[in-house]
Symmetry: C2
């Protein structure tokens, strides 16, 4: 394959990988796509600082490299981008980098853009399995579908009508629970977490994230 940009020209798997996904913004775009098909504006919203021209260029290159593909949205509202099989195989890469970088996640810096997407990815990474539950989680109005399966957490950044449990919170609330270990019941009592569904399902949900990878 003829690579477009500059390459490392080394007979090395790492170099070959970086030739394809080593440029600025690329892996963050892949991270976004781990939450399901994403549209142009979704990238623009999730990746502040990424400019339109560069996004278009990256999308084109990633499509040419077979890492993502254009797909029609289920609801018929135009096109979007989704990971191909090759691109989906980047999940362990994103996860390991995220795991390593998480040690620098103390508090959001003053200039930091906060977004629930990365937190969802970290939940996906740390989920140890053992539950079976479908949860609709809404963070600051952004919907996510969490599919807790036997040994895998499926996360999709979309809205659904079918869910055992519906949770609504803010990023601050999510952060208190996920990053800082606050108890869900305390957040509910403080009005920072709204619950719709059975307490039994909430307990299953909370328990599934008590012992983490």
């Amino acid at each position: 394959m003829e690579r477009s940009g500059r390459c490392y020209h080394q007979f090395c798997g790492l170099a070959r990988a970086l030739d394809r996904v080593g440029e600025r913004w690329t892996l963050l775009m892949v991270r976004e796509l781990l939450l399901g098909p994403r549209r142009y504006k979704d990238f623009m919203a999730a990746l502040p600082g990424l400019t339109s021209n560069l996004l278009a260029k990256r999308l084109k290159q990633l499509e040419a490299d077979g890492i993502l593909e254009r797909v029609a949205l289920e609801d018929g509202s135009g096109e979007a981008y989704a990971l191909s099989e090759l691109g989906a195989a980047l999940e362990p890469v994103v996860m390991e980098l995220g795991r390593w970088g998480s040690q620098f996640l103390t508090a959001p810096g003053p200039d930091d853009h906060v977004d629930p997407g990365p937190a969802m990815v970290s939940m996906k990474r740390r989920y140890k399995g053992g539950a079976a539950l479908r949860v609709q989680l809404e963070v600051d109005g952004r919907p996510f579908v969490l599919g807790l399966e036997e040994d895998y957490l499926r996360v999709e950044g979309r809205r659904t009508d079918v869910a055992d449990l519906r949770l609504r919170t803010s990023f601050a609330g999510l952060r208190k629970w996920w990053f800082m270990g606050a108890r869900a019941r305390d957040l509910i009592a403080a009005g920072e977490l709204e619950l719709e569904g059975e307490r039994r399902d909430l307990r299953s949900f909370v328990r599934a994230f008590e012992r983490l990878a």
Copy 2:
């Protein structure tokens, strides 16, 4: 911490990681350091295209970030750079990227720089354990010490006097065995692999790399 260069400014582990090791050449430098302490000239030799000024800059930044540290060489021949604990924790990142990128490693391209270092890293990654052997491997004159342990392969890019087995080959020979599945005995018969030590140890060595991760 005040990061020097430009950052993504996202509250996200992946972004935090890429802020530190996402720039050009950085992860390739980490890969080199997985083979033990490395000196300035070692980087220059292993990373063609990386210029002296940029190498100095990267080394300084990585040291400031606590990813590597200056160490005195055992043989007293000056200073070198080694991974700190924080930097060593990048091994899974390098491995997952290498694993993903390995699918693009068919044959070395015409412009490709070939180097046994990355192949050693890939051996480290794919080693499944179960052996106990100390091997001195020399590829095109470059020495490596392979420490096959119960569940870990230690690889160091240096020479040693203590080894159960000594192997000498060329990169072409290494590639035939490691990447293309040629049998060691055939390489020996063809004069592409020189052996010093007991055949029993060679069998252990070969067998340890027959079932791979």
